[in-house]
Symmetry: C2
Subunit: 401 residues, 2 copies
């Protein structure tokens, strides 16, 4: 092993680059999780997370990965054999389906939508729910931002479709790679359970999962019969009322969360965070277009602003390209997952990220394409910089008027 000079560009779509001040916060000595000081910390981060989810309801913070938060959403709201409508629109959607199957749920998957290049179709949701006259379907599960494909489903439109069908199913939404990166409105969109993780837009190391919980989901949880103990919301919410937890929480990650909430909510502001990510997504897609490479996402309304998935040309290995870029430039990129294996590479542009980091990232890709011998046109970096420059000029001119 030899020393790699300079700071690593971690451009996988999570874990994301963790700000130095968050890392320093995490390195504070661990305190007593039953002390008054801890209670203040607990209340502060629980309150902050409600703002992040855009809910006036309640949020629970779990010591787990995003997969654990998936399981928590399902076990707290459903009973063995309950039917749930889910969509095979990407690797994480497929994994969440597997979790539901393993837990003993009856998963209905729409077989027509599985090219992994589109989000959940609200019209399909409406049709399926209209067909379900007996209300056998107890929940609809949607991944807001598919980390594997760079496709963002229109959750607000899904809610409208459910309302048109006048169906009482719960709406469960995975926001793991959208939370604090892409506008997610828990209350406005009538989401019942949202699932989040620490290692993406929240700019933290992995280790915390989240559920935001609507009143309707809370009512459902009182009669849900899937066995649960660790994930059980009831003792969690009871203790959370005073800032405490029913078991030892991941104290040091909560220090980090307090710091990242300060940055996201009080210093930059969530709307500015979303706009920053949108701009970096657009710049990345312009680079890909200039290179002559194909974006996985086909519908411009569903382009993700946290991650862009790009095909290498047929017959050219995406994994070899990523390997070259990692070895030469010390930059890990996201791999093609599932049916995209070796065909797609993914650029994460979420979390603690700025224009010059994006310039470095895209420069690494452009040089990597050349070194790996992947057919492309030059000019991707230039196209991205042109867009970044123009959008800054526009913003400056708008600020003047």
């Amino acid at each position: 092993m030899s020393y790699s000079s300079g700071r690593q560009f971690v451009q996988i779509p999570g874990p994301t680059n963790v700000p130095e001040r968050v890392l320093r916060a995490i390195a504070r000595p661990t305190i007593d999780h039953r002390s008054p000081e801890f209670g203040r910390l607990g209340l502060e981060v629980l309150e902050g997370m409600k703002e992040v989810f855009q809910t006036s309801g309640r949020v629970v913070i779990l010591p787990c990965s995003g997969s654990g938060a998936w399981e928590s959403a399902l076990t707290n709201t459903l009973s063995p054999g309950d039917k749930i409508l889910m969509f095979d629109i990407g690797q994480f959607s497929a994994l969440w389906i597997q979790v539901a199957v393993k837990l003993g749920l009856d998963v209905e998957v729409d077989a027509a939508q599985n090219d992994w290049r589109h989000g959940v179709d609200p019209q399909v949701v409406e049709a399926r729910l209209r067909d379900d006259r007996g209300h056998k379907i107890k929940a609809v599960g949607v991944v807001h931002n598919e980390t594997s494909s760079g496709v963002t489903s229109m959750v607000g439109a899904v809610r409208e479709a459910m309302d048109r069908a006048q169906h009482p199913a719960l709406l469960l939404v995975d926001t793991i790679s959208s939370l604090a990166s892409i506008d997610f409105r828990h209350d406005e969109w009538g989401v019942d359970v949202a699932i989040g993780g620490s290692q993406k837009g929240l700019m933290l190391p992995p280790g915390l999962g989240f559920n935001a919980i609507s009143d309707k989901a809370l009512v459902a949880s009182k009669s849900a019969r899937l066995p649960k103990s660790y994930w059980d919301w009831q003792p969690m919410l009871a203790q959370n009322a005073t800032g405490f937890f029913p078991y030892t929480p991941a104290t040091n990650l909560l220090y980090g969360l307090r710091e990242s909430l300060q940055m996201l909510l009080r210093e930059e502001g969530l709307q500015n965070v979303f706009a920053r990510h949108r701009r970096h997504g657009e710049a990345t897609r312009r680079a890909a277009r200039a290179w002559g490479l194909e974006n996985v996402a086909l519908n411009p309304k569903e382009y993700s602003s946290s991650v862009t998935a790009i095909y290498t040309p047929a017959g050219h290995s995406a994994d070899e390209l990523r390997k070259v870029i990692l070895e030469r430039f010390n930059m890990p990129l996201g791999s093609g997952l599932g049916k995209f294996q070796n065909k797609v590479f993914r650029v994460g542009h979420l979390g603690d990220f700025n224009d010059l980091m994006l310039a470095g990232t895209l420069s690494g890709v452009e040089m990597g394409l050349e070194i790996a011998g992947v057919p492309h046109r030059k000019g991707g970096v230039a196209a991205a910089l042109d867009y970044l420059t123009e959008s800054l000029k526009e913003a400056a001119s708008m600020a003047r008027t």
Copy 2:
């Protein structure tokens, strides 16, 4: 809020004091959990944890609290309605019983043993298992070190009792507050699943749980039918073979674990760690005896070397004493849990701890007893220092001979 000068003495029995170098390790930037560098980290900590559990089998590392590791041990080895023999010998034993009940197991609890001042009685285990001629009991669950009472159960003797009864039940052992503090021998004692957590003897912040798994437990896991996904050992072990994880692991805590394993295994040595804790346990009990206060644990063979639970005299509030000590000396102590509420305080002397920290800790208790008006004799600190000095002299004289 005002500044409290000096470093806080965190003398709850976990989370324990985290060494500065572990905190610094945790503050390293998060890396790609699918990179070769991560694979090396994963293999190193998985291998190290086998040494800590004293097993040549396998260990899984879970992003969760100790409660999650309890659930993992149960869901991977048992099926709905399976009978498990457990013991109500302290608050954490009682909580683990609740977990088993919530998950749908048929828990058999020995009603005779519940004064919380004794460990699991191997003779009772033998008798119960002999009575179970049909082998309905699929597992025996034992808490090695009861954090609530400072009682260490004799796990080796429990195994011998099971062998004498020639009963095939699995032996599941909670080592949360014994692991890397008190000698625990997974293979030698024929333990099938051991449950651990990061925030005690491993000197880490909370957020990691562990299972050590015997061959027999692994076989049982192939047919166990309790629903599981997050806790499922099979995908975990498959990915662990190359140092990776089926979902995003808690990378930064694994950095800390690598550092603490280096300290425990390579620098101090596990046997020295156990001896250090034994010595501090003995010094603490001598202090309590000198104060005229009563130890919760009644059997000297079961005295814990990681935590000492001490009664305040009848009619004197243990919580008020703890409050005085926290406010005057910035030292949190463990509270009396469950039936010990307000009657007992607990001194944690595990993790990253030394003679002068113990001297400070006991000094805080002695001054606190005086200020809170709790009847006691002076001389506890002096008795502890006498013992520490004598034992050092003895060690020095033995080293010379």
